[in-house]
Amino acid sequence: MRHLEKFTYRQQAVNMEIKELKHTIEAALLAFDEPLSAKDLLQMFADQEITVTDINQALNALEADYAERSIELKRLARGYRLQTKSSVQHWLQNLQQQKPKKLSRALLETLALIAYRQPITRGEIEDIRGVAVSSKIIHFMMDQDWIRVLGYRDVPGKPAMLGTTKGFLDHFNLTSLQDLPSLAEIKDIETLEQELDFPDQAASENTQQELKDES
């Protein structure tokens, strides 16, 4: 990054070389999940004398770079996006199958609260958990068809009330919500856990493994 370091962002009238521009644009496309428009890219270099022509030139160069690689530059209505080529789909699928997605603790707790306390608003979940609930988690669970909006509470902000779906019951092999164990029953699992009493990390992981195997 010799060229990049040569100037500070305060300096005007310094043109980045197309190569630097290309690498920086590539990094931006890789860093953000959403497609970036030419306008976004221009804004990134607001303090440089970079024109749309420069951006396009850099994008074309990038596209050429990717010709023999396994990712490609896609021009979408919303902007530019890098994506995997379909030719590697087979390999990625192999990997997908052996790496089942693990749900985060935040997601599990949120889902558990929705299951047991529905209808419940996001604010209520946050109150109980003591931390903000990310929209990403809510969207993921909606995409999985585990939760849905049951209605809106008539208080300022009209927060949505969330509840579980039939898809949730199916996923967890439940006939109805009443099949969910009561808190008292859950506490039994807790006692069981305490009896095992894990002295160190390795043992702790072991126990979790056992719990999984058991089910």
Binding site: A27, L30, A31, F32, D33, I71, K74, R81, L82, Q83, T84, Q89, Q93, Q96, Q97, P100, K101, K102, L103, R105, L108, E109, L111, A112, L113, A115, Y116, R117, P119, I128, R129, G130, Q144, L150, G151, Y152, R153, D154, V155, K158, M161, G163, H171, F172, N173, L174, S176, L177, Q178, L180, P181, S182, L183, A184, I186, K187, I189, L211, K212, S215
Partner: protein
């Protein structure tokens, strides 16, 4: 190095004038992570050797600070007062004459304080070091490209009911609600019913109150349905409307 910035003005010394605006004090208090931090600041500010603290001066400065807080009715964490007491005790022990010919030499009364200050200081430094580490989202970003999820065969999600239960157990334990929040089957069935009622409302906008009750469910079912409606009313999620006295009662979504 300023230890606080108040209204754009950096403070490099503890204010010596009598009147300090209360919000300035708040800034000062917030600048410290507790009594050890404050003490460390007082020591470092005067370039003193932590191993040889002039306990008298430090105690005086510390107590002055605490009193100032107190005078301004600033709610002070109890830890600050405990430290003041500890300093006073060390000071008084140091004033006592050295035991003449005791069999065992008493250790420096400051030793424990020095140990704690040193211990705290190294973690204070470690915290700053950790803050310097390149962090995802701040200094670096994870490089990802879009990967078509549609083409993937069914994504396996590793979750079973036990994970969910443990999560619920933990979150409830954490909520630290003193009130017993046993989830009984009955309660859950009320919640189940609440969901059902909301579902019907989504589909039909208004539903007849009486339509909620069916003969097959019996008394238990009626009670559950009734409790569900009460809960929903309490949560301000639905309204009861009646078009004429003694007329039929309808349920509708709140605010609709």
């Amino acid at each position: 190095m300023p230890f606080a910035v108040v209204e754009g003005k950096p403070f490099t010394q503890m204010p010596t004038d009598l009147y300090i605006p209360p919000d300035a004090l708040e800034v000062i208090l917030e600048a410290f992570e507790g009594p050890l931090d404050l003490l460390l600041y007082l020591i470092r500010r005067q370039n003193l050797d932590i191993l040889n603290i002039p306990i008298h001066d430090i105690t005086r400065q510390y107590v002055e600070y605490i009193e100032l807080m107190h005078q301004l009715n600033f709610e002070l964490a109890a830890e600050y007062l405990v430290m003041a007491a500890m300093l006073a005790e060390i000071k008084s022990r140091m004033l006592l004459p050295k035991p003449a010919s005791e069999e065992e030499e008493e250790s420096d009364p400051r030793a424990e304080l020095i140990r704690r200050l040193q211990e705290y200081e190294r973690f204070k430094q470690a915290a700053e070091d950790i803050d310097e580490l390149p962090r995802v989202g701040r200094d670096v970003f994870i490089a990802t490209v879009y990967h078509d999820q549609q083409q993937q065969s069914d994504v396996d999600i590793e979750v079973d009911i036990k994970d969910l239960l443990m999560a619920f157990k933990e979150v409830m334990a954490r909520a630290d609600l003193k009130v017993s929040h046993e989830i009984e089957r009955e309660v859950l069935s009320v919640r189940d019913r609440m969901t059902l009622v909301l579902d019907q409302l989504m589909a039909h906008k208004t539903i007849s109150f009486y339509a909620l009750f069916t003969r097959e469910e019996g008394r238990q079912g009626a009670l559950v349905a009734f409790l569900a409606v009460l809960e929903l009313l309490k949560a301000q999620t639905l309204e009861l409307v009646q078009n004429a006295p003694f007329g039929e009662i309808y349920l509708q979504a709140a605010g609709s």
